[in-house]
């Protein structure tokens, strides 16, 4: 995942530039870059299931941001319900805890990226940008714990969207 990791590093670099007075352009690009770091991390994971390695970059082009957002919003909700029932400790509970971190980060970052890229009425601060990038970084750290779990694989599959096209 060199691209995803490089994007995350770049997001932090942009968010921490200009120590005294950060430029709006730096903070906005930091948020946007953070989102794309997570986007590419998850795409690399879903396409890794495709056996033909040379086709994976092409396959990645079929995934839509909006479907990934919807899948992440739904996954965040599923995790919250699961964890609210105080489940017994175990692999499923661990997975849902980590998956909540990943899906919540995507769900939040998607909207924040829209604002950062298009809404000039909003002023950004370094804390705002770092809070988002930290959530994305937490998602990067959580994902390796769960990537082979059935719940995580179902989450990736949901990125394809509704099979009936609704």
């Amino acid at each position: 995942m060199p691209l995803a990791n490089d994007l995350l590093e770049q997001a932090y670099h942009l968010a921490r530039r200009e120590p005294k007075r950060p430029r709006q352009a730096s903070l906005r690009r930091a948020v946007s870059t953070g989102y794309y770091a997570l986007f590419h991390l998850l795409l690399s994971q879903v396409t890794a299931n495709w056996k033909q390695t040379h086709q994976r970059p092409i396959l990645a082009r079929y995934f839509k941001h909006g479907n990934m957002f919807k899948a992440s919003e739904k996954q965040t909700s599923t995790c919250a319900k699961f964890l609210a029932a105080n489940p017994a400790p175990g692999a499923d509970t661990d997975c849902m805890t980590h998956l909540q971190t990943v899906s919540l980060a995507f769900y939040q970052a998607y909207q924040q990226r829209e604002t950062a890229d298009y809404d000039n009425t909003k002023t950004w601060t370094r804390t705002q940008a770092l809070a988002i990038i930290d959530q994305i970084d937490a998602a990067f750290k959580a994902w390796p714990h769960v990537r082979d779990h059935k719940f995580a694989q179902a989450y990736l599959l949901a990125f394809l969207g509704d099979p009936k096209g609704r």
Partner: protein, 107 residues
Amino acid sequence: MIVPTLLTNTPQLRDQIRQATPLLVPDVVRINFEVGFDAMGFASIFFNIVLADEATRPARLRHAAQRIALTLMNHLRTDENGVHAYFNFRSQSEAARIDDPAWAEMP
């Protein structure tokens, strides 16, 4: 367009948020919010949360941000109420430096 009940009763929403705030001290100084629609067109609540400067230190911010987000989503049952929730954070110093009504202390 259908707007979820949670967002149509602002005083009640404000009360619910006020009830949740003690769960979030000492990290949270105050919680403001705006209602509207997100990029996907879903009814949404956009939180503007002022954090104590101490809570924005690198080692603490990530944990504080996720804990606050999940606490508010659970407390307001945003999912059951059909509302998307988004969280913005500023430090107390940043909020004091920038004149922005959306982040100001409410009377």
